[in-house]
Amino acid sequence: MNKERTKKASILRNDGFQTTISSILCILIGFLIGYIVLLIINPKGAGDAILAIMKNFLYYSSAVSAKKYLGTTLVKASALLMCALSVLFANKVGLFNIGVAGQYVVGAGASLYFAVGLGMPWYISLLAAIIFAAALGGISGFLKSYFNVNEVISCIMLNWISLYCVNMLLSTVKESSTPYTKPLSSANKDGLLPNLGLDKIFSNNKFVTIGVVLSVIAAIFVSILLDKTKFGYELKATGMNKHAAKYCGMKEKRNIIITMMISGALAGMGAGIFYLSGIEQWMIGQTSIPAMGFNGIAAAFLGGLNPIGAIFASYFIQHITSGGTYVDKTMYCTQISDLMIAFIIYLCGFVFFFKLFLNKYLDKRDEKMAAKAREGGEA
């Protein structure tokens, strides 16, 4: 009996387990609040709307369509995953890379300009996205380590600089009749990421490319880099205690710059695999930064800042984001899906709060149990 108890407690205290149940709890509360808001706005359609968000591609009754839209969700989720990896990687060194959005923008700009404007093959374009985004991240890292400029401030400012620069750059490859860049499929077929037969699995959804696989590989790569290598050891030491890192002679300044560069590279690669799949074109003159990067922050935290956790968290967030488009627009205004998702994502930030709460509860329970055991013993 007693043994069983301690065993149960030890699972509850397991970090990964705690993160998982905390994440699930956050999601549930997010849905609940979303549902209540829907009820307030229009009680009639609330049930359907929340179901539509949860169902996403299952909205289609035919398996062919469902598979096709699952593919689309996966493509978007893979870009989101890259952004989440970018955020969590920087976080391991104690940096908050809110510049992931700007790095994503630069990645988009570089990949599209290289593919459409310069007619480069996909691998060169993808590499360009990675390099330019890494350079952008490096700027914030450099400012942080040598001039102690807060990375959040410099990142936010660079986000806007990147957006307008990319708008300017991509206006050279604009379609004449629309505000979008020229579609890759007609402008440069070599610029598209290869499908390697993956499109066949998803009912000929041609946007499903090796990008999806690459993003999962990147997650595993990040996981290994952080846990198994000397470099990861240094980064974690710097992140957890930069004074100790300096004391034992690690080059903490250099580490900060490299981290921000890798973080930027991950975000840039995310943009690359998204835009080079041909699923979307860049809209010239857009005045808001694509939400992908910011959602990456939510995905990273929902995944418990763990690369493997981020895979599931990214998929989930993309799932409900795509699901939001199926909400009945005759009953709710068009922004409703974004609002719902905002609720859920906002709640995702509470994962660590719930973990803390759970630990406190466990401590109290242990204390009580110990007290009871004592009383029993004394009696």
Binding site: N241, E367, R374
Partner: protein, 535 residues
Amino acid sequence: MIKEAENLRFLNLKICGKRNQIMDNYAIEMLGITKKFPGIIANDNITLQVKKGEIHALLGENGAGKSTLMSILFGFYQPDGGEIKKDGKKIKINNPNEANALGIGMVHQHFKLVECFTVLDNIILGAETTKGGFLQKKEAKKKVLELSEKYGLYVDPDAIIENITVGMQQRTEILKMLYRDNEILIFDEPTAVLTPQEIKELMAIMKNLAAEGKSILFITHKLAEIMEAADRCSVLRKGKYIGTVDVKDTTPEELSAMMVGRNVSLVVEKKPSEPGNVVLDVKNMSVASQRGKKDAVKNVSLQVRRGEIVCIAGIDGNGQTEFIYGLSGLEPVKSGMIMMNGKDITRMPIRKRLTSGMSHIPEDRHKHGLVLDFSLEDNIVLQRYFEPQFTNKFGFLKRNSIREYANRLIKQYDVRSGQGPATKARDMSGGNQQKAIIAREIDKNPEILIAVQPTRGLDVGAVEYIHKQLVAQRDAGKGVLLVSFELDEVMNLADRILVMYEGEIVGEFSPGQVSVEELGLYMAGSKRMEVGAHE
């Protein structure tokens, strides 16, 4: 002053003597207090009875349960068993405000003062008298001056805290308690930051307060102070109550044995040193201060030879920290030169210094010494993880070798922890954290070992162990540079003593030639000699 204090003590003893005849005249009583936390019993049936007008010492090693007991008295925790009585009446203290209302006050080890406020502002903070929303500072000042005169607590009410001495800051803290009419005054390790002269003054003040009928609870691990000031002493060990003794009937040895549970040698045994070649040579080093414009370290020159322990004595905050930062490379030096084994290391990167013969036991083990969220094994290889034995040529860590190495050190240096090498450093006791650092630094086989406050906050057993290790390093022909704020440690370990005051070396002594009082005068800056570099 001292004579006055002796008179007061005499008076005090007389009062106590009278009081002793009336049983149960206790100001505060904690009877059979038990407090359990998951996995440990912090307080196990502890009884502490403080008489009115006495100085009652509470003695115990780190982790003996002193803090928990005081937290219960202050209402931070509720006891699982036992009761608290004030003046014979049972009371329940639910939070610190209630403790305050009952007249219980405390001077914390680290003062809780607002640095940029005046002494007066700090004293009235939280207990301000107002009229129509306006502060009545005049009245407050009058009361403070009255108290200050009555108890011999000299302060300047209008001085700003950051400009006054540590001693005056402490008197401000005491006045804070008196201003609130507290009857039971708790002093938590009050002498840690004071010079010997200031300690004497404090003892006199405490006796004065006791003579005026205040009850004083004096938490400490310094036996000499108990012998000097306290009337009675209660001893805790590992959460258990060992006993209460009349100080006049006991000896330091007996108290120490009660505290540790075995006989501990209070004096470090060591042979006379046999100094060899110079291993560390510092010439005219200056280090800029991180705060003000003045240099924190001014033109310091010193040498450390193989086979000797050179000790820098001084009061905390006189440039020792910055001096060591300069030596280890944590801060750049402004001018001067550092030679290690004849090589100029003034501008050498930290990693290079550490791999070419320097070991550094840092002052703050939580800030510099450990990555608290790393496992013990990861902390043990913190200085060597990059060596080929721990990292392969592709940059992957060799986890098995790290585990093996950690296990060897854990065994050799008797580092105790819950889950061995996988324990998080945060979950280890202070003594074992320090042992891990010492194991790591000594096992590097350094030429020069720099140790800053290596025994801070550790219990007697651990202190004894660490002192032995330092002497062993010296005997193995290493140079040891020790920075310590504890005079006992300085006198016990040093082969040569340098006194640092306001960033300068103001005296050099052999331990046999100088008394603690003499050293105190140099530490406080009231005496100095010309100390040049030895060529």
